[in-house]
Symmetry: C2
Subunit: 116 residues, 2 copies
């Protein structure tokens, strides 16, 4: 097996599927690499909103800016160095703050397979 190092500059961002907001994801490790988890970076423009039902276990580490995640009437605000962990089946609304946000994420299993 192999050790990988990834930086934001390595990422090819694509618009997060199923929505038109200024929210982009870029996998750096996924189902094509043979491991159990998908790793990637997310980029949110200012004040964007994503409503979705999480299809995997999704751990999000905030690298820059901030997001608020609302689920079941409860809102969690997270800034740089903080972690949001969402579970399979959670209905969430993710809002980026006015400065936008950059995140790193790890999903188990692979989110692109779970959503397809």
């Amino acid at each position: 097996m192999t050790v990988y190092k990834f930086a934001l500059a390595d990422v090819s961002f694509e618009r997060s599927p199923g929505q038109q907001a200024d929210i982009f994801t870029g996998n750096v490790l996924d189902q094509h690499h043979g491991g159990p988890v998908t790793v990637g970076f997310g980029r949110y423009g200012p004040n964007q909103i994503l409503e979705t039902t999480i299809a995997v276990h999704d751990t999000m580490v905030i690298l820059e800016g901030g997001v608020s995640v609302t689920s079941n009437g409860e809102t969690f605000n997270a800034g740089p160095g903080e972690i949001i962990a969402m579970q399979d089946g959670d209905r969430v609304t993710i809002r980026s703050h006015e400065e936008g946000a950059v995140t790193a994420y790890v999903t188990y299993p692979h989110w692109q397979e779970a959503e397809s």
Copy 2:
């Protein structure tokens, strides 16, 4: 299921098992919570060295400071916002830089079960 938010201030750090270096880990989500992954924070003093064989898939996000990870004669340097992904069975040497390091990690499966 539930959405969680974690900050460094939530963490109860313990010395990383099997070694005496100034390296501490603190799980915030693990086998006790019923999910598939362990999530936590790591804290490294300056110029610490950890030699280990990785027992899980371990994704490490550098939050502060820096680390170098050497495996199979190749060294990866990572600083804030960068990611190191290590696989089950990788023999690695992790060195913290002179400013130490703070990391977030996600392991699949749970590292405390894999190492016990």
